[in-house]
Symmetry: C2
Subunit: 396 residues, 2 copies
């Protein structure tokens, strides 16, 4: 039988990164391609202790169906943490649990966008979000990402050019893939422009707690007096990515519709791990644990930057992140980025080509993304040295 696939999914390709992830079964490849947190960032021993207690004392509740919006004690603990850490959450806001931050992004788009509507995104941006928007039939349009975030004037131009824009999607802190952080001034200006044009902001903050240098900058959601910001984040980078527990804080009217969508997708998020997260948050030292992850990533990022400084030709540009998981490298004009990535994989070093992150899937890119949280220190040393060799060969 010839299958007729829906318009929304017919043209959509699997994420290049997830595909690369699948192909990385060759243990001799040094991978800078993943977006995985370090396995050292999972507090396995403590999670195991709490888990044993849940199986002993609360198994029936932990293994049974739960409420779509999430395990109430976890929702409360997350709402309190968002308030205390980030000054997020006003009277009109509601916090719900999602199956990873990904589901929050996807549900926000399902709640707001009809096919053909536009989502303005930083360009480049997170491929998982871009694909989720496309799978709803929305069009992803890029606003160029600079070292301190998108330019508010360029954002307003795009809003005027695309009057059917329903959402502005931003990762203001430690952007993926850019590794950049939007300045406080730009955050204010972006918020004002969104308000002026009555367009919602979808703020994605999966890496916000992973700052290892510089000063904290509050999320855009912290200034949301008008109920125009949907805030998504998750426990993936601070407790466990494989458990798929994230959260959304957004105006209640939007959250209600997102919950209806969530009910259709998976009824609710894994109940056992919701209880595990709640117990860890309230009984253990989450901040102390995060401090350890920050130290780890500071060391790994510094090592990778040191190696890049040492081995990369000076014509190759790269960001110097203050947190998060990624460094964004840009080759000089005239060098073929795809050829570079292929030459690297021939030397058994994997990076993600920048084209994967483009809002316009046909657009070229001079850049590639490096991840420093997953590889071992030794792999960082050897892998970057080899990337340097490839670059020197190609730059002649």
């Amino acid at each position: 039988m010839e299958y007729k696939i829906s318009d929304n999914l017919a043209s959509l390709k699997p994420s290049a990164i997830r595909e690369i992830f699948k192909s990385l079964t060759d243990p001799t490849i040094i991978s800078f391609a993943a977006g995985n947190p370090s396995p050292l960032s999972f507090p396995a021993k403590e999670l195991g202790e709490i888990s044993a207690d849940i199986f002993e004392n609360s198994a029936a509740a932990a293994l049974q169906y739960g409420i779509t919006e999430g395990y109430p004690p976890l929702r409360k603990a997350v709402a309190e943490r968002l308030q205390n850490k980030f000054r997020i959450g006003r009277e009109f806001d509601t916090t719900i649990i999602t199956s990873g931050g990904q589901q929050g992004l996807e549900l926000a788009c399902r709640a707001l966008c009809n096919p053909g509507d536009v989502v303005l995104c930083e360009n480049p941006s997170f491929i998982g979000a871009l694909n989720a928007f496309r799978a709803v039939g929305a069009k992803t349009v890029g606003v160029p990402l600079h070292e301190d975030g998108i330019d508010p004037a360029e954002l307003e131009e795009a809003l005027i050019a695309y009057p059917n824009t329903k959402m502005i999607y931003l990762i203001p802190t430690f952007q993926n893939p850019g590794g950049t952080t939007t300045s406080a001034e730009k955050r204010k200006a972006i918020y004002a422009i969104a308000k002026k044009h009555s367009v919602m902001i979808l703020e994605d903050n999966p890496y916000g707690e992973l700052r290892f240098a510089g000063e904290d900058i509050l999320p855009i959601k912290s200034m949301d007096e008008d109920g125009i910001v949907i805030y998504c984040s998750s426990f993936s980078k601070i407790l466990s990515s494989g458990m798929r527990v994230g959260f959304v804080c957004a105006p209640d009217a939007i959250v209600q519709k997102m919950a209806v969508g969530k009910q259709c997708e998976d009824v609710h998020t894994n109940q056992f791990f919701q209880m595990l997260c709640h117990r860890f948050m309230t009984e253990r030292d989450l901040d102390g644990h995060i401090a350890k992850i920050r130290t780890l990533y500071r060391e790994k990022c510094t090592l990778m930057l040191d190696m890049l400084d040492k081995h990369m030709p000076k014509e190759v540009h790269y960001t110097r992140p203050e947190g998060g998981l990624f460094i964004w490298c840009t080759l000089p004009d005239g060098v073929d980025m795809n050829a570079f990535v292929k030459a690297a994989i021939a030397k058994k070093v994997a990076v993600v080509p920048g084209t994967a992150f483009n809002c316009d899937t046909e657009a070229p890119s001079q850049s590639f993304r490096l991840n420093y949280s997953t590889p071992s220190d030794d792999d960082i040393r050897r892998g970057i040295e080899m990337l340097g060799e490839v670059a020197r060969e190609m730059l002649g």
Copy 2:
């Protein structure tokens, strides 16, 4: 700000059952309204033992990102079980893991349906599936459910009346809410009609392992030589509903697109519980465990039927299921079903009104759904006695 919700989600209401579930916090209410498996059906002790071992020996893998299609050893174990138990899975089929059976149903519709397309459903049918189809913009059209399944001739009439039908959604075994099972003859006839009209069948089989009386009937998928059946099921009713682990077996071309959709929704299913399911399947006695659940549900169903026989006026009709979780009761014409349900809740007994399961959300119903897996034996005795009182009062 006035929010503009997308067309697909704007009119969609949360599932009546999930809403009833939320409101059942009053511990004095006897609830026959849930669709929950009995907490006695969760092998908590054994899951706890395996869990401890995973935290001890495989924590890094269990807490890390996984592959969208699912944990490979679990996919293999599920595919083998489907083959051995149900003769399901041909060369062109692929088995993937989903976040509960619900996600499989939703992804099938996302993969095949554009807004306005029709999904033919048994009427009444599972509200979670109906809402998932509606959330994609598909139209749910009912084909009347009889004691032995839908009528093939009526199905063909509907296919002719709705030429933009993309999918036929069926729960052939222990239907929810009907408690009915489609006969082997009808399954064959339905398959032949779907093939003739080149329309896919979405077969939902969450209760298929819960037969406690009568003879096994193979799923429609077992006769799928033509690659026209998408088969969805889950571990919710045999290991744990709260963990949200389900699976799909369908032609690879369809599964590929469903996986792209899944990547957008939640990246992958909780990795830890995928490993837990795999270990339970391969190291413990899953069939022995299911045998215990069958015995439990046989006893509970028999008790509820005995009480109905004793207390219900003979004008009230109810199905006599051979498995699954539900009994479907129908009041005689002229009795107001909604008034009955309200009178029952006034006596602190909750049931689900049949209107919740209608394909046409505006259509009336004379029926209500009873669940026997969740309530205690004592609650079954007292609750049915009270429902009998309400019925006698209303029938005069």
